[in-house]
């Protein structure tokens, strides 16, 4: 202890410190609380902190920023390490869609009310703006006026919407792909009903849609305000569908969006887009920095 105390004193005289168990533990506690308040899932928080702690322990860090009078504490260094780790974990950035198919197919899935229909419209508008010819498919035959909703959005953005009465969702998707080929549409975006992961029939339905039209893109649409259930739900959708990426919606509010870290770290799938409003332009490609700061708080 004496020799360590001596070593610490020596470092302090040099304007440095070694990140130790003691100096890190208050910072660890603080970051843990912040991440939980940001809705990062408990298991993910524990694993994340263990990882950053392991990387930081024993590090010798300067307590002054060169050439400036800013004083930094070991805690500050730990928070910076957390921010860097968060950015790294939520990357690498992959906001691409596989649009090579004839037509390319994007399947939209998620819990009730997460923003699938709205996001389908946004993606259609975005792709149309990039010179693509999207076709929207209204495959939610359950929710009152769900088809009307997508058709209204389609009219607004000038994108055709495929629907046929008295046809089940699997068949609707299949027919839509044929329709797309016949009418020269090169991307098919399939909007589906919100569903619970414990609803076996509905999970089977979306698995059947996937098996039938073999989409190269399956996007899991999730509300940024989702709590600890994010991991359970994402895992269930991923196990069933092996989604290619997810979209975090309603980020124009003050939800911290910790689900982004939870879902990425548990499924390994990238965040593709961020929903930033109700209008058809309210979507942007994912960048880790903004979200990392928001989650860390």
């Amino acid at each position: 202890v004496l020799s360590r105390g001596f070593k610490n004193a020596t470092l302090a005289l040099q304007g440095k410190a070694r990140l130790s168990e003691e100096s890190l533990s208050p910072a660890l506690r603080e970051v843990r609380t912040s991440l939980l308040q940001a809705d990062v899932e408990l298991g993910v928080v524990k694993a994340f902190l263990a990882q950053v702690k392991e990387k930081s322990l024993g590090e010798i860090v300067p307590l002054k920023v060169a050439g400036q009078s800013i004083k930094l504490s070991p805690q500050d260094w730990f928070v910076k390490a957390c921010y860097d780790e968060l950015c790294e974990l939520m990357g690498p950035v992959d906001t691409s869609l596989d649009l090579d198919g004839r037509p390319a197919v994007i399947l939209m899935v998620g819990l009730q009310g997460s923003g699938k229909t709205t996001t389908s419209g946004k993606i259609a508008k975005m792709l149309a703006g990039e010179g693509k010819k999207p076709l929207l498919v209204a495959a939610d035959i359950y929710r009152p006026a769900a088809v009307d909703q997508l058709q209204t959005l389609g009219r607004k953005i000038g994108v055709p919407v495929f629907h046929q009465p008295d046809t089940n969702p699997v068949e609707l998707a299949r027919l839509a792909v044929i329709q797309a080929r016949n009418t020269g549409r090169d991307v098919v975006i399939v909007d589906t009903a919100g569903r619970l992961t414990v609803d076996e029939a509905m999970m089977q339905e979306v698995a059947d849609i996937k098996a039938t039209v073999q989409p190269k893109n399956v996007l899991f649409v999730v509300d940024a305000m989702i709590g600890q259930d994010a991991v359970r739900t994402a895992k269930a959708f991923d196990d069933r569908l092996d989604f290619t990426g997810f979209v975090l919606t309603k980020l124009d509010g003050d939800a911290r969006g910790g689900a982004a870290l939870s879902i990425k770290s548990v499924t390994g799938k990238p965040v593709k887009f961020l929903g930033q409003g109700e209008g058809m332009d309210g979507i942007e490609a994912f960048r880790p920095e903004g979200l990392a700061q928001r989650i860390l708080g």
Binding site: T33, L36, Q37, A38, D39, E41, L42, L111, Q112, G113, S114, G115, Y142, R143, P144, A145, A146, D148, Q149, Q151, T152, L153, K156, L196, T197, V198, D223, M225, I226, G227, Q228, D229, R232, T233, K250, D252, G253, D254, A255, R256, G258, A259, E278
Partner: protein, 270 residues
Amino acid sequence: RLLGRPLDEAATEDLEEVLLRADVGVQTTERLLDKVRRAGADADLRAVLRDEMTAILEPVHVPFRPGEGIWVVLVVGVNGSGKTTTIGKLAARLKGEGRKVLLAAGDTFRAAAEQQLSTWADRAGVDILVLDEGADPGAVAYKALERAQAEGHDVVLVDTAGRLQTRKPLMEELGKIRRVLDKVHPGAPHETLLVLDGTMGQNGMSQATLFHEATPLTGVVVTKLDGTAKGGMILAISNELKLPVKLVGLGEKVGDLRDFDPKAFVDALL
């Protein structure tokens, strides 16, 4: 740690995990566990916890019970939380209780919002007042109450557009709708229900706080508890804002609406 015995430590950590995973949140979890730790060394920790949680929910608990005269219910909440569906279910329930229900299609903004509510009106067998898309929600509120007074409806359920609580102009619009209701029928709205998505996390506190400031809430509806989320956020909301949870949404069909039962809720959470 107050108890400091290894056995209690592990048990307490298990309970902490259960609470955090149920979206109870860090502060409320700490508060609850503090009470648990003060319990005797041989106490049933889980039972103590259950009592503490029920003690938060029961004192503020008030059931949903429409009163005499024209009972006006304003339904508010963030986007996609389940307002329109809840109104449909509530309409059917009230009709079954012999009330003459009128729905007011106050979401004049979102695509097909009016068609969605109209479908529910058909399902529940109740009347609905709809104006053209883009009409002022205050005008819808006004016309709906006028019609209720003229035609003898004794319950009016007012749907509103989803809105994020941080959008000040949209929150002010709610205040305006409330003033219109009060002007046409003094005392209205008699009930203002905040619809909360049961899958949400810590943002629930911000929602409840800011919606309560925009228009005084009389109760909360928690939806989507038929999924895997536990809805633990309502403990903090009940505790700090003294808001009662009146109804629970347990599915997407017309009958999937229950009265809130504090004991059942706590048992399901633990």
